[in-house]
């Protein structure tokens, strides 16, 4: 009861807050009275009060102040040599004054925080931590003693990673990625000109023949580079300590992110959906690349994604097999159908320009994919993996940049994130509206159309020294609930319960103070994912964080134990696995703890069933009694106060009916 009333109180605060937003923001920012964002038409969670322990934390790279609830840090493994910060250089960087306008070039004092950690992938006892400068592989067989196994140097951000069998995939988008994994990048115009001048000097004393030879070998200063990689690198990690590069699949816009797609009908290949959001390459660098509008060039690299096929027997033959026009207008065939979509009606925003996707999450178990595609959130039918088809597209007036997506386990709701500001800007200040740079939660109807239900943003105000906006997260497999653990860069980690898509609630968090209290430094959580009972966070500057859930009123020990029954052999979060829980008394206890928070079953009833469940593993009579209750529980589901409680009651009935034999629960009871 206490928890229920707390929840209601939170909603009441939200309603008041949204209503009085203009006044609040005006008071907070005396210098610049701000215009009001459009009032949200759906629920948005409230800003946490200033008394939130996350407000005002002490700054520091490795000694920052910490506030946590329901999450405990087990270990942080600083980035290794080559990737690591140089602590000795922090004071000089923090105290350096900028050169005056018009002054000549002074000494470079780069931010000393090392290269950027990015996305994570998991396989067996390993976590692969992507970085703009390569990939670091850690042994997590004992998460409390996580050990670095291999540091692989191979620049070309952002280093989004996936793993399948002995293959490691890595996204390259940046302009400095080289085929040979070299760290030198490419010569700039002035460097090339200097080299040419030196060559001319040399040539002055040469014979005509020698001169001609040298001319032929000299490089012309051009943007096109034959040794550049933008696309997906594929490595053989049969020996995890010595990855070998097998091939690079080059794409016109590079690979900002990629998504591993395993087609249940195709055992010979895996597929990669490549999302590119950067500029199109020079046609002299990669043949066939065009950045023209679709009206001018039907083969433009804009308004599409790229599908790579990877033959498992011959991964070296991986190649682009399709560039589906998933944004096209179904009636006219225009490639830029969404872009020309126009207004959605009186008083609504236009559909924003969608030229490509930022990230795609596939949910093969239900044949769907959710694309976070620049100006749109889109839903795709991927039953034919090579030829995905758009089912629906949504836009939102509060959204700047659709960034990533996650499904609920039942596939009936999607949580999109908006990376307003690109991740490098502080967007969680007290003055930044809660519905900007937030998650947007949509339900998926039986007609496969999406409907906006709510916004969620990490609620604690952060400083202007902390880059903060919605970023990558994964689902925690607690049966009976939709739980999303999510990165908010220097806003830390926030665990949101979105079981009710219309009322997301934060139930746990972990946050540090800024990396520097004196200057803005890029840092914070890039990806935070649950994997086999542990939560791993790739902190951009500080390293790999290893965390665990700790029990609270909102997450009981039994619920954590129920999630820990699930073991993935491999986890690529954007290839979302469907979780099927076992019919066990552990699962039943989690359902009961959740029912105790609601009003679908009396507290006494819940308590008495839980006593029986605790006894049932060693007491056949108790088990029989529970089995006898199954019909009653199914009946109670019909009058449950929430759809989630109805599922929990059906789940209990099924477990009791099966005598908790450990078999897979039916999908309907998830």
């Amino acid at each position: 009861m206490k928890q229920i009333s707390l929840l209601k109180a939170a909603f009441a605060v939200a309603a008041v807050f949204v209503g009085s937003l203009p006044v609040l923001t005006a008071q907070m920012d005396h210098e610049k009275p701000m215009a009001t964002p459009p009032p949200p038409t759906v629920y948005v969670n409230p800003r946490a009060p200033e008394s939130d322990p996350r407000v005002g934390l002490k700054a520091g790279l490795y000694d920052a102040g910490v506030a946590a609830k329901g999450l405990e840090l087990i270990q942080t493994i600083a980035k290794p040599s080559g990737f690591a910060p140089d602590e000795s250089k922090i004071p000089a960087w923090e105290d350096a004054a900028p050169p005056a306008p018009g002054a000549p070039r002074g000494a470079a004092i780069p931010a000393p925080y090392g290269t950027t950690n990015s996305d994570l992938a998991f396989q067996g006892k390993y976590v692969f931590v992507g970085n703009y400068y390569g990939v670091n592989t850690y042994d997590i067989s004992d998460p409390a003693h996580t050990k670095l196994v291999t540091s692989m140097v191979c620049p070309g951000g952002q280093g989004d990673v996936s793993v399948y069998g002995h293959l490691l995939f890595m996204s390259v988008e940046a302009a400095n990625g080289r085929i040979d994994c070299g760290t030198q990048g490419f010569a700039s115009l002035e460097e090339a000109q200097k080299a040419q001048a030196a060559m001319r000097e040399q040539m002055a004393n040469m014979s005509a023949e020698e001169r001609q030879k040298m001319m032929a070998s000299g490089r012309k200063p051009e943007p096109a580079e034959k040794d550049r990689v933008r696309g997906v690198r594929i490595f053989d990690i049969s020996d995890v300590t010595k990855p070998r590069q097998i091939t690079d699949v080059q794409t016109c816009r590079g690979s900002h992110t990629h998504t591993l797609v395993v087609d249940p009908k195709d055992k010979n290949n895996v597929y990669i959906y490549v999302s590119g959001s950067a500029g199109v390459r020079d046609v002299k660098e990669l043949a066939g690349c065009s950045g023209a509008s679709p009206d001018e060039d039907p083969n433009t690299a804009l308004f599409t994604i790229v599908v790579i096929q990877v033959p498992l027997a011959h991964p070296e033959l991986a190649k682009v097999v399709n560039s589906p026009r998933i944004f096209s207008d179904p009636t006219t065939g225009n490639a830029n159908g969404l872009w020309k979509g126009g207004n959605h009606g009186e008083g609504t925003q236009t559909t924003s320009a969608t030229r490509g996707c930022h990230d795609i999450t596939v949910y093969s178990a239900v044949g769907l994919a959710a694309g976070a595609c620049s100006g749109n959130g889109i839903l795709l039918d991927i039953s034919d993996v090579v030829h995905p088809k758009r089912l629906d597209a949504v836009s939102d007036p509060n959204y700047a940049f659709w960034h990533s997506a996650n499904f609920t386990n039942d596939g009936k709701a999607i949580l999109f994130s908006d990376e307003w500001g690109g991740g490098g800007q502080p967007r969680c200040r007290a003055t930044d509206p809660m519905q900007w740079g937030a998650d947007a939660i949509f339900s998926i109807g039986p007609d496969k159309k999406m409907t906006l239900k709510s916004y969620y943003k990490m609620p604690a105000a952060q400083t202007d020294k902390e880059n903060c906006v919605a970023h990558n997260g994964s689902e925690i497999p607690v049966p009976g609930r939709a739980l999303h653990v999510q990165s908010w860069y220097q806003g830390g980690i926030s665990l949101v319960d979105w079981t009710d898509p219309a009322h997301p609630v934060e139930i746990a968090y972990y946050d540090r103070g800024p990396i520097s209290g004196k200057k803005f430094a890029m840092g914070g959580q890039w990806s935070t994912y649950w994997y086999n009972g542990t939560i791993y966070g790739s902190e951009i500057a500080r390293g790999l964080d290893v965390l665990k859930l700790t029990p609270t009123d909102w997450m009981t020990a039994d619920e954590i134990a129920a999630a820990n029954q699930i073991t993935f052999k491999e986890l690529n979060v954007q290839d979302q696995p469907q979780v099927v829980w076992p019919a066990t008394y552990i699962t039943a206890k989690a359902y009961l703890d959740q029912l105790a928070r609601g009003e679908s079953l009396s507290k006494d009833k819940v308590a008495s069933i839980k006593t029986l469940v605790t006894a049932a593993s060693s007491d056949k009579k108790a088990a029989a009694k529970l089995k006898g209750m199954a019909g009653e529980l199914d009946k109670a589901a019909a009058t449950a106060k929430t759809p989630a409680d109805a599922k929990r009651l059906h789940g209990l009935a099924e477990i009791f009916r099966k005598n908790a034999d450990g078999a897979a629960l039916s999908i309907a009871s998830l």
Binding site: K32, A35, P38, L73, Q75, T76, I77, S81, G82, A84, A96, P98, P99, P101, G102, A103, P104, R105, A108, I109, Y132, K147, L148, T150, S151, M152, G157, A175, N176, C181, Q184, F186, A187, S188, L189, E191, E222, P223, F235, T241, K242, P243, R244, Q245, I246, A278, G291, E346, G347, Q349, T350, T351, S352, A353, P397, A400, W420, G422, G424, M522
Partner: protein, 250 residues
Amino acid sequence: MAVLSRMVGVLLCGCASVALAQAPNIVQPGAPGKPTQELSAVTAAPPAKGPSDADVKFMQDMIMHHGQAVEMTELAKTRAADPEVKAIASKIDLSQGDEIRWMKQWLAERGYPEAPAGGMAGMAMDHGSMAGMDHGDMAGMDHSQMAGMDHGAMNHGSGKTDPMDVAPMVGMLTPRQMQALRNAHGAEFDRLFLTGMMQHHNGALLMVKDLFQQPGAGQDPQLFDFANDVDNTQLAEIDIMKGILRKVNP
């Protein structure tokens, strides 16, 4: 060594959250088919590489470019009528204000001033750097919406053009356009603000495109991310503004 250092760390701190660097096995794969080599902690370090001249110019120019956008959003606070115009102005104000601070720090960390010697004059549009730029192939650019953008105004080599019609940089509003904006209120302001800001944003897209046409430009990872984010978000904002314009000026 890794085990030893961890033990020492735990002894000294007694807490779980100590940050530990571990002794590495560092490798660098070769090109496809080529062997993987081992690196030492020293050879693994990224080489110190400064930005290219084009990178620096892009940032210095963009600070000035963003500066005008903030000037325009400042006007919107007291002159705009439509709530959606106010909202997009507020969003642009926040974004570009933050980005100006960010760009200044980026330059300072690399030893460069926020503005080159010579100030305004040095920043005037460099036609040389625009060579090869095809204004006609701007994807996503709807010329019918570009009423406010006077390509003629950029042609300031002839000496005949009134300085009031000279934009300091691609896409930037001319002094005359800024004056008109300052003098407008209500619906008229909304229309001029939207058309002006779309023109302004399109200029930023051209600057990004121009940057990546320079050899060796954009290799700084932070600059690469920033430039692409400018491209993505400003393109999205242009479309949002198109929608608002259709509503306020049907």
